[in-house]
């Protein structure tokens, strides 16, 4: 957590900016803990509501487990993504960030990683609860599920952080973020739901879904960093 003091000075400036933004965001979240607790509770509620909305039996998990899991993660993740730039509003931090000479892709990259770590943390805590509440079949390949979870969460965190920087300037900020993110994330959502479904049932052969998901990750991480100047510019 002490990246600020431990970062060697010989690292390039952008790497230092990246590390500091990441460390600062994580420290803020871990100290404040409001969002973390709220997100965890929110995702838990979604899972509980699901079990009332649909009969939570093994057959449901076999047919739609991947979908249920990702809808809960997606909505909980939106809370974290909304906060990624909302955090910068008090004390005019956002203006400070945009005026600073720091490389903007490094700032955005740091925020992408901090959102990713927060979301992943929440998801790993929820995964066992999901397994219990929805009676996931014993043959599930949890290692592979966690692999999909990492790639899928990165897809949501990278694009969502970019859109968070966008929507922070707009009216109805909290509503606009999902309205921007969900249409874009459709292919990633299809891929993560399908592959999670396959792995929860202990199957294999989800290779092409994983490839698609990784392709989405690479393309939109690059595009987001390339366009970081556009969303973080002063103006």
């Amino acid at each position: 957590m002490s990246a600020e003091t431990a970062t060697p000075e010989r690292l390039p400036a952008s790497a230092r900016v990246f590390a500091r933004v990441l460390a600062r965001d994580l420290r803020l979240e871990l100290r404040g803990r409001e969002a973390l607790n709220a997100m965890l509770f929110y995702a838990l509620l979604i899972i509980v509501i699901f079990s009332f909305a649909f009969e939570a039996q093994s057959e449901l998990t076999i047919h739609a487990g991947g979908g249920l899991l990702w809808v809960a993660f997606l909505f909980a993740g939106l809370v974290a993504l909304d906060r990624a730039f909302l955090r910068e509003i008090p004390e005019a931090c956002l203006t400070g960030l945009r005026l600073s000479p720091a490389a903007r892709p490094a700032v955005l990259g740091g925020k992408m990683v901090s959102s990713f770590l927060l979301m992943t943390g929440i998801e790993l805590l929820l995964l066992p609860l999901f397994a219990i509440f929805f009676n996931v079949p014993p043959g599930a390949r949890w290692g592979a599920v966690i692999g999909v979870l990492l790639a899928g969460t990165w897809a949501l965190a990278s694009t969502g952080t970019f859109f968070s920087a966008m929507s922070v300037h707009t009216r109805y900020r909290a509503l606009l973020l999902p309205l921007l993110l969900l249409p874009l994330a459709i292919p990633a959502v299809i891929a993560m739901v399908q592959s999670t479904q396959i792995f929860l049932n202990g199957g294999s052969g989800a290779g092409y879904w994983i490839e698609l998901l990784l392709g989405f990750d690479v393309i939109f991480t690059c595009l987001g960093l390339l366009l970081a100047d556009v969303v973080l510019e002063v103006g």
Binding site: M166, L176, P183, I186, I190, L212, F220
Partner: protein, 245 residues
């Protein structure tokens, strides 16, 4: 003083583009539309298995093609905006997105009307239908972002970035959805040796598309002009506010 100059400039530009040119385009559009409708309803032969329902094809497919073309114009205009920050490019971007969404809506509305008698269902999550719906949702989201962002320099900048994101998302969507589902009739255009239409059907199709393209030009020109006037009005307001302070 400056304000007066801008106001004169505004009316001079309005006179230059005038209603004259657009009126010609509208006239051409009406004639083409009348011809296209005659071709589609009276001249083109009735399809053997689908019967009369197939005639909606002459509206359905041109609607989609015109919409896709408008979205492509939106992408080009957005990229130009990102490089040059030209207000004209932004005016083209908003005009093409709105007009594209209108034409794609024609496609999405006529599709189920055709599908109900032919397939027996209104909608199916088939690859092509889903992709079209996703595109529609994307550009609706694009227009919503424009609508909810305060006017000024920020709005075109964010909109252009979003347009680039959506453009690169489309091929990934295409692959994901194709792997996920596929019931739409195989393409009759460039669709292999057995696909194809009678020559009179082709005429009706081309006439329909030509009419739609002319309407696209008319609507985009009008919307472009309106967007430009909006930009000048915002400029005037800013200048006035600056003088007042």
């Amino acid at each position: 003083m400056e304000q007066k100059k801008t106001a004169e400039n505004l009316s001079a530009r309005a006179a230059k583009t005038g209603p004259g040119k657009v009126a010609w385009w509208i006239g051409a559009g009406m004639i083409l539309m009348a011809w296209a409708l005659a071709e589609a309803w009276l001249i083109a032969p009735t399809e053997r298995t689908m019967g009369i329902y197939q005639r909606i094809f002459y509206v359905h497919v041109p609607g989609a093609f015109t919409g896709f073309l408008a979205f492509f114009i939106n992408f080009i205009a957005s990229v130009i905006y990102l490089f040059r920050r030209s207000p004209r490019a932004d005016a083209w971007a908003v005009a093409s997105a709105e007009v594209g969404l209108a034409f794609l809506s024609i496609n999405l509305i006529t599709g189920p009307i055709w599908a109900k008698p032919v397939w027996g269902i209104w909608w199916t999550w088939d690859a092509r239908l889903t992709l079209t719906l996703v595109l529609w949702v994307m550009y609706a989201s694009y227009l919503l972002l424009r609508h909810l962002t305060p006017a000024g320099e920020l709005q075109p900048r964010l909109a252009a970035a979003l347009a680039v994101f959506f453009f690169f998302d489309t091929p990934i969507d295409y692959m994901a959805i194709r792997w996920w589902r596929t019931q739409h009739p195989q393409p009759v255009i460039l669709g292999g040796p057995n696909a194809g239409m009678a020559p009179a059907m082709w005429v009706a199709f081309w006439a329909g598309w030509a009419a739609f393209l002319v309407w696209m030009v008319v609507l985009m020109r009008l919307r472009y002009r309106q967007a430009r006037q909006r930009q000048r009005l915002d400029e005037l307001r800013r200048a006035a506010a600056l003088r007042a302070s």
